[in-house]
């Protein structure tokens, strides 16, 4: 009963259902109270993992292969903690945002509860079919949230997102079917010892299908086509949630399978391919971000670029010395954490500015520096994290990744990372330059409630303090 693992799944489901019972647009207060409890539960769980290594949990008392196992290691702990640290300020922000802007709230809170249950289960699950169900739950929750705005743009984005996410999970499930046909089990604990360097065609094909399905959901170039419209067209709290967390879930699965289930099949050629696509994503995403005229689209294209950084991790951890691989892994995880916090803050700040301007247009930003200095500061700090300048978490991540690349002699990736930092400076400064211009005479800014500004600032503040607390994160990661 005192075990936090089952409650991390049951509690969000429970408040999700109850807030649906309360009615349209209700349930925000209940959600925030429960999010605080969930954060405490995660802290408890992380404490257990740090103290006594990996935790296993057999759901229903039927251990694998008959039942479903949950498995919490260092990486899963980091992801769970990250999710709850991001979602609490975002929840407060969303409550305030929807009180400004009632249209688009709909059943936000029930969907958020189910989405969180899906995320928590996904991070802990050790069963590839159970992961499929969580992927569908996550995907449908995300799509439903994108559609809440209800205008043509967001409905189109939601349909495109829905079809892509369904295609992705369908392809993933085909891989699961091949694995079940080959080994008669879907439990990672059973499958991992069975997969060796020499595998049948079916298993090899299954690995490719599952990877492609997850890449579609992660929106790595060239599968990124659905992301900007979905993330840019959703209500702002949803955009922040999707960019900060939902994208990370499928990336986390790719990383887990790369290091675990399919580690014997992970060759340097495949890693170079993923890294190469990541490099193209960085260049393409940054250039497209620079060309945008709408603030939220700029932030969405910046996510496309940042996803590229995550995939630079693969060539740095595959077939290199164990020390270089470990440093790269640490850098990659810090990058994940820093991006989640910074992008959530960036979207939240952009949302505040858009509410104040009344329209999403970068050209109208001039003069906002005197109206919303805290929000502009938030946006700037989030931008500095994305660029990877000191003293942010983004800097530590890039430092670790670059030093790993140098020690394994992969200079090409160093060039990509530095170039990517310069390009992100380009689109961040484009916004800041416009914001620091004097206000146009006819421009009227609407006042904004400080309860919108402070949660956004809190997110960048946490991201900034990450640079001083990165060792703690790495301790949790190493506990696994």
């Amino acid at each position: 009963m005192s075990d936090p693992i089952p409650w991390l799944i049951l509690l969000p489901l429970l408040w999700g259902l109850l807030s649906f019972l309360l009615g349209v647009g209700r349930g925000g207060r209940l959600a925030i109270v429960c999010l605080v409890i969930q954060l405490a539960l995660v802290a408890l769980l992380v404490g257990q993992v740090v103290a006594e290594k990996d935790r296993y949990y057999a759901v229903g008392g039927w251990s694998a292969p008959l039942g479903i196992d949950l498995h919490v290691d260092g990486l899963a702990s980091v992801m769970l903690l990250l999710t709850h640290v991001v979602i609490l300020p975002l929840g407060i922000y969303a409550r305030s945002y929807f009180s400004h802007n009632v249209e688009g709230v709909g059943y936000f809170w029930p969907m958020l509860g189910l989405l969180l249950a899906a995320l928590n289960t996904l991070f802990m699950s050790a069963d590839i079919f159970n992961i499929y169900v969580t992927l569908e739950l996550l995907g449908l929750a995300a799509v439903g949230l994108v559609g809440t705005a209800g205008n043509t743009r967001s409905i189109l984005a939601a349909i495109r997102y829905l079809l892509v996410t369904l295609l992705g999970s369908g392809v993933y499930l085909a891989g699961v079917a091949l694995i079940y046909g080959s080994y008669g089990s879907v439990a990672l604990a059973v499958l991992e010892p069975l997969i060796e360097n020499e595998v049948s065609v079916a298993v090899f094909l299954a690995a490719i299908l599952m990877l492609v399905g997850l890449l579609l959901k992660t929106a790595l170039f060239p599968f990124h086509f659905w992301l900007p419209s979905a993330h840019g067209g959703a209500p702002t709290p949803v955009s922040a949630l999707l960019s900060a967390l939902v994208i990370k879930a499928s990336f986390y699965l790719i990383l887990r399978m790369w290091l675990g289930l399919y580690a014997p099949l992970a060759t340097i050629q495949a890693a170079q391919l993923l890294g190469g696509l990541g490099a193209v994503a960085i260049l393409w995403g940054s250039i497209m971000a620079f060309n945008q005229t709408r603030l939220k689209m700029l932030a969405a294209y910046s996510t496309v670029a940042q996803i590229g950084y995550f995939f630079l991790l693969f060539p740095l951890i595959t077939e290199v010395g164990s020390e270089a691989a470990e440093i790269a892994m640490q850098g990659g995880v810090i990058q994940l954490v820093a991006h989640a916090l910074a992008k959530a803050a960036m979207f939240a700040a952009a949302g505040v500015m858009i509410l104040s301007m009344g329209k999403d247009d970068i050209a109208l930003l001039s003069g906002i520096s005197s109206r919303l200095p805290l929000t502009l500061f938030t946006f700037a700090l989030a931008g500095v994290t994305l660029m990877g300048l000191p003293p942010t978490g983004g800097f530590i991540a890039k430092w670790l990744l670059i030093s790993s690349a140098v020690s394994s002699g992969q200079w090409g990736w160093v060039v990509v990372m530095i170039l990517g930092g310069l390009l992100s400076a380009g689109y961040v400064f484009k916004v800041l330059r416009q914001a620091l211009l004097p206000a146009a005479a006819e421009m009227k800014f609407r006042p904004v409630n400080p309860s919108l500004e402070w949660p956004a600032f809190l997110l960048t503040f946490i991201s900034l303090s990450l640079s001083f607390a990165s060792n703690n994160v790495l301790n949790i990661l190493g506990a696994g």
């Binding site: 043509t152 743009r153 409905i155 189109l156 295609l167 369908g170 392809v171 499930l173 079940y180």
Partner: protein
């Protein structure tokens, strides 16, 4: 080749047909149908591959039941979105570019305003 593997092979064929249809067909209703064909193909593969030695295996059958329910839910959501899109743009297809999107949105707003004006008269 056992009988069960025939199901798996047919499932594989349906799966790729569904995938190709989902990508290529322009009409959204057809895309949704293609998704369902793709899903059925995967389910056939799952059941057919699980059934070694011609003994039915309850595990993949339960998985397929789960998968069917998920597919029903996704289809319902997709249809609700497509109906909404049909209401907004009178087209069940992706609008080609954002410029025409803005135009349809403006048209819609003016139309709704006119209607409200009629109602208040």
């Amino acid at each position: 080749m056992t009988g069960a593997l025939i199901y798996a092979c047919v499932g594989a064929a349906l799966f790729v047909c569904g995938v190709a249809g989902l990508i290529l067909l322009p009409h959204l209703l057809r895309k949704i149908l293609a998704f369902n064909i793709m899903g059925s193909g995967v389910f056939l593969m799952l059941v057919g591959l699980g059934q070694h030695d011609n003994i039915p295996d309850p595990i993949p059958q339960a998985m397929v039941l789960t998968g069917i329910v998920v597919a029903v839910a996704a289809t319902a959501l997709a249809l609700a979105f497509v109906r909404r899109l049909l209401y907004l743009t009178s087209k069940a297809q992706f609008v080609a570019n954002s410029k025409s999107l803005d135009q349809t949105e403006e048209k819609l707003i003016t139309r709704e305003r006119n209607k409200e004006g009629d109602a208040s008269k």
